[in-house]
């Protein structure tokens, strides 16, 4: 029995000691940032740079834009929100939940078709290749919830081949999941963001950006955020940030 008591005490000690640093950190300047999953990597990298230069700790939560939006409307304690579209930031603005005039475009996404299937080199192909009989399943992000999914459907519609390929669709919750479907060989190809395949091999071709509405990703500063939030968003529009975003496959048209 005493051994049990000792084990419990030890566990308690570990639990308490793992909580304490968080409290200590909260005493300094901390910015909490909500980021749509697809923009997580560049924002993370930039947050690291920002921490070094400004001495402000950035705590990042990531998830889908819809989920983060819902959490924000329910009073989630975020200071800055990086969405995967511009609709949700606009809605927050309408609701008066953001700092006036803080909504801005931080990145514009590019759509691509990717595969890792051997013998299915996409290098010089175009969208009509998706009709090919060798392609049986196409993973896309859910068009009703994900901006890249909607853009993919738009592009296929504009090309006039949506009806031919629609029955090959399987839907991922977001681009990462659509990518996972193809990466694990469960789908033959996926239509995802250029940023999704950062650091991955395989072959891909870009989808002409003129045949779908631009995938504009906007950010907002939420009402009641500390002044550091303004510094952070300003830093995310700096030339350094542009370099990082383009490295991950975004353009930063303004």
């Amino acid at each position: 029995m005493t051994r049990l008591v000792r084990t419990i005490l030890l566990l308690l000690f570990v639990a308490v000691s793992s909580i304490t640093p968080v409290k200590a950190e909260a005493a300094g300047r901390v910015l909490t940032v909500a980021v749509a999953s697809n923009a997580l990597r560049p924002v993370q990298e930039l947050a690291g740079l920002f921490e070094e230069r400004y001495g402000v700790k950035v705590r990042i939560s990531s998830g889908s834009t819809g989920k983060l939006y819902t959490q924000i409307t329910q009073g989630a304690p975020f200071h800055v929100f990086f969405a995967a579209d511009k609709r949700r930031p606009e809605l927050l603005e309408e609701k008066g939940l953001i700092e006036r005039g803080s909504r801005f475009t931080y990145a514009v996404g590019a759509l691509i078709v990717w595969t890792k299937r051997p013998g299915l080199d996409l290098g010089s192909r175009g969208l009509t290749f998706l009709k090919d009989a060798r392609i049986r399943r196409i993973a896309v992000a859910n068009p009703s919830t994900a901006p890249y999914g909607r853009a993919a459907v738009e592009a296929l519609e504009r090309k006039g081949i949506l009806k031919d390929v629609q029955n090959k669709f399987v839907y991922g919750e977001n681009v990462s999941q659509a990518f996972n479907f193809a990466r694990t060989g469960n789908a033959d190809v996926c239509i995802v963001a250029l940023s999704t395949i950062y650091g991955q091999d395989g072959s891909y071709f870009p989808v002409d950006g003129a045949i779908h509405s631009p995938i504009v990703q906007q950010a907002v500063i939420l009402r009641g955020a500390p002044p550091e939030a303004r510094e952070f968003t300003r830093f995310l529009s700096s030339p350094d940030a542009v370099t990082v975003f383009s490295k991950y496959g975004y353009s930063v048209a303004r």
Partner: protein, 227 residues
Amino acid sequence: MQLHMDWLPFIISFKLAFATTVCLLFLATPVAYILAYKGFRGKPLVEAVFALPIVLPPTVLGFFVLIAVGNMSPVGRWYQNIFGHTLAFTFEGLIVASILYSFPFAVQPIQNAFEGVNPRLVDTARTLGCNRWQTFWRVILPASRRGIVMGIMLSFAHTVGEFGVVLMVGGSIPGETKVASIALYENVEMLEYSQAALMALALLVFSYAVLSVVYYFNRRTSTLVPG
């Protein structure tokens, strides 16, 4: 506010839960029997494996399934060679995933029930000339029906409430793999809160009904079968 409920995801959820529960009844009962009556080396390790789905986050389990049925795994390639497509994104694929996901919820109540059967009853049956098979059918199974009903109810309810696993391997195909929990989630993502609330309410009522039946059954049979 216009609300019209799409019942298709619910029908798929129930079809899935029904198919999974039937499969589990046949798969989990022998496993529960072995775990209850056979002693062997490393039994705790085996029991721990069967209990893993309780601890593993469903999305992790789903990710393992996705890799296992993909063309990076021999099993996945074998299946694809025979059927010409992957098991992912099909209703059958969801059944396989749900069996894994709900396995402990079927095995554990049944195993507990088997272990709770009075050994004297079993011994008496054996001395009266019943072989193991007859003893199982005539003594152990009737005496364990409470646990078996529990196992059935829990597997069914657990599968209806399944989300993470289906999210990983389903592909949200309407009429095939888009189950109620996924449809609800998509409604929240689309900011269709009233639609989502309606679906959530339906799921809540259903879950409450199932659990009430389980507890009702529990009490009634426990007074019928002492010990």
